[in-house]
Amino acid sequence: MTEAVVASGVRKRFGAVEALAGLDVQVHTGEIYGLLGPNGSGKTTFIRCLAGLVRPDAGAITLLGQAPRAAVQAGRVGYMTQAAALYGDLSVAENLSFFAKLEGLPHAEPRIEAVLRTVELLDRRTSVVSTLSGGMRTRLSLAIALLHEPDLLLLDEPTVGVDPVLRQELWTHLRSLASGGTTILVSSHVMDEASRCDRLGLIRAGRILAEGSAAELTQRAGAKDLESAFLALAGQTA
């Protein structure tokens, strides 16, 4: 099995705070990998390292066999930020077409329509973004990350504010992308969401505490569900 993400011994310090303290993560191609941990555990910093936005103090990262920035430059990475970073004065379609141009998509229109259908925003394509609800903005933000059909998707808490029905549908879509060979790395602190991932990494204080499928982790901790497993595993090393 080939690895889409290889991160070894990644360290990053911001002043007095050690955000990443020697993180090791490997994500297989076509896998949905969940990064599960409390706020401030280093999830976002790690994803920003993968997106080429933060340079680790130590350690090495390769994405799809390339350095992070090179993979991004080649249009192989889709990144969805935690806050829906969008242009409020522009319409849904204008936001998408702008990012399509940055990714150099030759035939953007059909792609824009396809991703809008996926996130169920087709009927709002002419709406100005500032008039959208929080959930709709999150979906548009996801649509932008999906736009150029990247080989690796980095999703930082992608379903915050999305209602349960649509969340279910989005996960179905992510699953079908993964079976088509797209590698997906998702960060979350929602257990229900985490249980849908193929493999999970429990992260705390910038380190992976435990790794495995939801079932394995639950069993290893001797817990009744993932949430208590997480609490138990986090407690052991704390």
Binding site: A51, G52, L53, V54, R55, A67, P68, R69, V72, Q73, A74, G75, V77, Y79, T81, A83, A84, A85, L86, Y87, G88, D89, L90, E94, F98, F99, K101, L102, E103, G104, V128, I144
Partner: protein
């Protein structure tokens, strides 16, 4: 540098701006309102004549001449004693007390406002000329000028620097705030995690904003020339080229400031820091050649100094684009633009290049 990505950023900036009707209106209408006010204040040669009291008890001139002096159109004249005049001066009822003994003319002014005091001497001299014919002017100095003309108003002389100042001022603020929004809304993070390079982003911004800046410049120039009827000698197109070189630098300063500010309030606080030194040192208020020696190096590092110099040369002296001075100034402005754009690029931090 990928031209398509640069064009995409420029289009995005322009689209955003077009949607923001209020900013767009402000960009065009605000300078016109201010220029109109400036035109009303400085654009006319007919100032209200000052009130002048002749102190009869200290004046030894024939009554006929005093009559002519008091009735001159240059002043609002009146007769009184010296003490009465001083009282009126203290109470603000008159602008000056005048007495004439032999060949010396004494003018007593209130003195708390130098501008008002200075504006008295001219009309009093004119009134004296009216009173005693050409005699008073006999020893006078005849001022002739190489450029401009005596019927130029203050506005005619100031128009070139005002045109430059407005272009700089509005474009600087708009680019600072809009790039700050890019930083705070998280879209900059998203852009940096796309194939877009920093140089492409800055170039796109420069293109997008310069486009609106040039529209503004056209409107301001046409307004000053055709509505305010400012006298100018040079070519309108040359004025436009100088403006273009100036505003490219203004956009870059805006991007730089947005890096130093955390929010829009802070960005606005940078406005006086960037603008006021240029107001005082760039030749807008005081000619650069009259600045103290130790301030001149500062004037030399300010973009507005060069824009002012070039625009004055073009509008008042009728210099052409091919003049060495104009070309040099445009070159310096473009050099500023390049250095500032490089600074703006460096201010957009992405740890991994």
């Amino acid at each position: 540098m990928n031209p398509r990505r640069i064009a995409a950023v420029a289009q995005r900036v322009a689209l955003n701006f077009r949607r923001d009707h209020r900013s767009l209106a402000l960009l065009i209408i605000a300078p016109l309102i201010v220029l109109t006010l400036v035109g009303l204040v400085w654009g006319s040669n007919t100032q209200t004549p000052p009130n002048v009291v002749v102190a009869l008890d200290r004046t030894n001139l024939p009554g006929l001449i005093v009559d002519k002096f008091v009735t001159s159109t240059a002043i609002h004249g009146a007769r009184a004693t010296y003490d009465e005049g001083v009282t009126q001066l203290k109470e603000g009822q008159t602008d000056a007390v005048v007495w004439i003994q032999g060949t010396s003319v004494h003018i007593l002014v209130e003195g708390s406002d130098p501008l008002r005091a200075g504006s008295v001497a001219g009309p009093v001299q004119k009134a004296l000329v009216d009173a005693i014919g050409g005699a008073a002017q006999g020893a006078g100095v005849q001022l002739e000028q190489l450029y401009g003309s005596s019927d130029y108003t203050l506005l005619d002389y100031l128009a070139p620097v005002l045109v430059a100042f407005f272009a700089f001022f509005f474009i600087f603020i708009l680019s600072a705030v809009s790039f700050l929004r890019e930083r705070t809304s998280g879209t900059l993070e998203r852009l940096m995690a796309s194939p877009l390079r920093r140089g492409e982003l800055v170039t796109g911004y420069l293109a997008g904003f310069t486009f609106f800046a040039l529209i503004q410049a056209i409107v301001i120039i046409l307004f000053t020339v055709f509505v305010l009827k400012v006298q100018y000698r040079g070519n309108l197109a040359t004025i436009f080229v100088v403006e273009a070189a100036l505003v490219i630098g203004a956009v870059s300063i805006g991007l730089l400031v947005s890096a130093a500010a955390r929010n829009e309030l802070q960005a606005v606080q940078f406005v006086p820091v960037v603008l006021l030194p240029q107001v005082f040192l760039s030749g807008l208020l005081v000619p650069v050649s009259q600045l103290p020696d130790y301030l001149r190096p500062l004037a030399a590092i300010m973009p507005l100094t060069y824009a002012n110099e070039a625009l004055k040369a073009v509008m008042i002296k009728g210099a052409a684009l091919s003049d060495a001075l104009v070309l040099r100034d445009i070159g310096v402005l473009l050099l500023f633009a390049v250095i500032l754009a490089a600074g703006a690029m460096a201010s957009i931090r992405r740890e991994v290049a």
